[in-house]
């Protein structure tokens, strides 16, 4: 368990943010932490039923919700997109 900064982009935002996470955070937790910071500030709040996914920038598919940052092998300042499924 260690701190790791990532470059994150929440769907709808005008640009990337830098946020510090724990390497034990799962993708679901990562998405939630980003939404806490950006939804309701720069992006309209998501409806309660919305499911957020995480993918490495440039990838087509999301990573599994329960995969941890350590498990995903992210480097420091990895660029990831957080977007609404569906």
């Amino acid at each position: 368990m260690a701190e790791i900064p990532l470059a994150v982009l929440l769907e709808g935002d005008y640009g990337y943010k830098v946020q510090v996470f724990d390497t034990a955070d799962t993708m679901a937790q990562l998405a939630e932490k980003v939404a806490e910071q950006v939804a309701g500030v720069l992006v309209a709040p998501f409806p309660p039923e919305a499911v957020l996914k995480v993918r490495v920038q440039g990838a087509d598919d999301p990573l599994p919700d329960d995969l941890t940052i350590a498990g995903a092998g992210f480097v420091e300042m990895e660029s990831v997109e957080i977007y609404r499924a569906g």
């Binding site: 005008y14 640009g15 990337y16 480097v75 660029s79």
Partner: protein, 506 residues
């Protein structure tokens, strides 16, 4: 005794190259500073300046220009223009004077190096005048800015800014150091005089001056025009240099200098002139949008100059055309929401009427950037002021030092545009670098050793260079508590949104 006409003596007096007796030619003109391209001195001696001026004429013209600008200023000082100016105009003046004043003065050093190290006598003449130009209009801008200090401490930054580690200043300094101050005389001149000055200064000094005249700020308009006449003359240093490079088999090198210089300066003008023209200029005084000015002066005129010289348009031209319509809209969101990190009082400039104008000039604006502003507006209306400022910092480009952004919006197909912010990153020697655009990344990849040591303001936060704690960041950037930007309208700009809401509720 009658004086000779200039054309009778100019060529003779211009031939100032000589054979050094005490040191060899290479010690006098080290290739790394004078000419890394290995072009023979006889070739440099063919440099023929398009606009010739004698020192006598130069001084006379400059004196008249100074008298013009200073007399307008002193006649209008009493009018107390500044006190009555709107927060829009005050923000615009701050955005112009505080980064530019000292940067111009510093340019004198770049021109002085051209004078010292160029092997082309004609270029040395022009660069000497360029040195004097930059001193004159660096001083004039700081002097005119300082007039406002008694009303507003923001203008202290006309000089102070250059000595700080404020993120916007780091961005500007990185670009200017790169193209003006840290290359050989020929490269610096092609990048500065051609790519920068011929390419872009019309934007700030003619475009903005038209807006200023319309707004009744005649002091500012006259000062801008006075500067532009300096720029227009010394900007011509670049053209004969490019011709000499091409004639001597160095077209590819000249092309690369133009491509790199043009991109680096575009990023600066995109943020500076883009925000000034499309946001900070009061709606009723806007002459043209940034896009319209860019198309007239840069996309048409400058592109013609490039081709006439025998060069090609930069490889990223299509991307550039897209950037003209997008980059500054995102930067304006960031400049407003991260306002405490700036020394002036940023304004949003997205009242209903201003949005109509933006939508007209940039179709699709409301469905993209407007979506982010809707959230900001809603928070202000609900009194959730703390939610108008993100707690997390933005990602900063490791080349231009501006935010890594894209087209905002819903993430779904909207009017043919898609939510598409891309972080162009690169892993190099164990470090991940981030870029706002393909060209910023390309510039880095051309010369990684030149750029890799630089750390963005965000890198400096992460590596502990910036002291921790709530005030550490501001102290590092040279901003006392009073010097942190607050909304220039104290949030009252959203008033225009209330009547429609009240009407809807009825």
């Amino acid at each position: 005794m009658a004086l000779l006409e200039m054309h009778e003596w100019y060529d003779l007096t211009r031939a100032t190259n000589w054979t050094p007796a005490y040191v060899d030619e290479e010690a006098l003109f080290p290739p790394a500073l004078s000419d890394p391209f290995g072009i023979a001195v006889e070739q440099w001696e063919t440099f023929d300046e398009p606009y010739k001026v004698s020192y006598r004429d130069y001084v006379e013209t400059q004196r008249d220009k100074d008298i013009g600008a200073y007399s307008v200023k002193s006649a209008l000082a009493r009018a107390d223009f500044f006190k009555k100016a709107s927060p829009h105009w005050k923000a615009l003046l701050a955005l112009h004077f505080s980064p530019i004043g000292f940067a111009e003065f510093h340019s004198a050093s770049a021109f002085a190096r051209m004078t010292r190290f160029s092997r082309a006598p004609g270029m040395r003449n022009m660069a000497t005048f360029g040195t004097l130009d930059e001193m004159r209009h660096g001083q004039i801008q700081m002097y005119f800015a300082y007039e406002f200090i008694k009303h507003d401490r923001v203008f202290d930054w006309a000089h102070k800014s250059s000595k700080t580690e404020n993120w916007i200043i780091i961005s500007l300094r990185h670009a200017l150091d790169d193209i003006e101050h840290t290359r050989d005389a020929i490269s610096a001149a092609i990048m500065t005089n051609f790519a920068f000055e011929q390419g872009f200064t019309n934007l700030q000094f003619i475009g903005l001056s038209a807006d200023a005249a319309k707004a009744g700020d005649h002091t500012f308009a006259t000062m801008l025009q006075s500067i532009q006449t300096d720029e227009a003359r010394h900007a011509q240093i670049g053209t004969p240099l490019i011709s000499i490079m091409i004639e001597n088999g160095r077209k590819a090198e000249a092309q690369r200098l133009v491509d790199v210089g043009f991109w680096r300066i575009w990023k600066q003008f995109s943020a500076l002139s883009g925000i000034s023209m499309d946001y900070y200029t009061p709606l009723e005084f806007r002459e043209h949008s940034l896009k319209e000015f860019m198309h007239e002066w840069v996309v048409d005129q400058f592109a013609r100059n490039i081709k006439a010289l025998g060069l090609d348009l930069p490889w990223y031209w299509d991307y550039f055309l897209h950037d003209i319509e997008t980059f500054h809209h995102s930067q304006q969101i960031g400049v407003y929401i991260y306002r405490a990190t700036e020394w002036w009082r940023p304004i949003a400039c997205v009242s209903p009427a201003e949005r109509d104008w933006l939508e007209e000039k940039y179709p699709g604006w409301n469905d993209t950037y407007g979506k982010c502003w809707d959230v900001v507006i809603d928070n202000i209306r609900q009194g959730r002021f703390e939610r108008t400022v993100p707690e997390v910092p933005p990602l900063i480009c490791n080349m231009c030092g501006l935010e890594v952004t894209g087209v905002a919006g819903t993430g779904r197909q909207v009017n043919g545009r898609r939510w598409n912010a891309t972080d162009f990153h690169l892993d190099h020697e164990g470090r991940r670098y981030h870029f706002c655009s393909e060209p910023c990344k390309w510039v880095f990849e051309l010369e990684p050793a030149r750029y890799q040591g630089h750390r963005s303001i965000i890198d400096r936060v992460l590596d502990g260079t910036v002291p921790p704690g709530p005030d550490g960041f501001y102290e590092y950037m040279g901003q006392s508590f009073e010097e942190r930007g607050v909304c220039g309208y104290d949030y009252q700009w959203i008033d225009g949104y209330d009547p429609p809401r009240a009407a809807a509720a009825e």
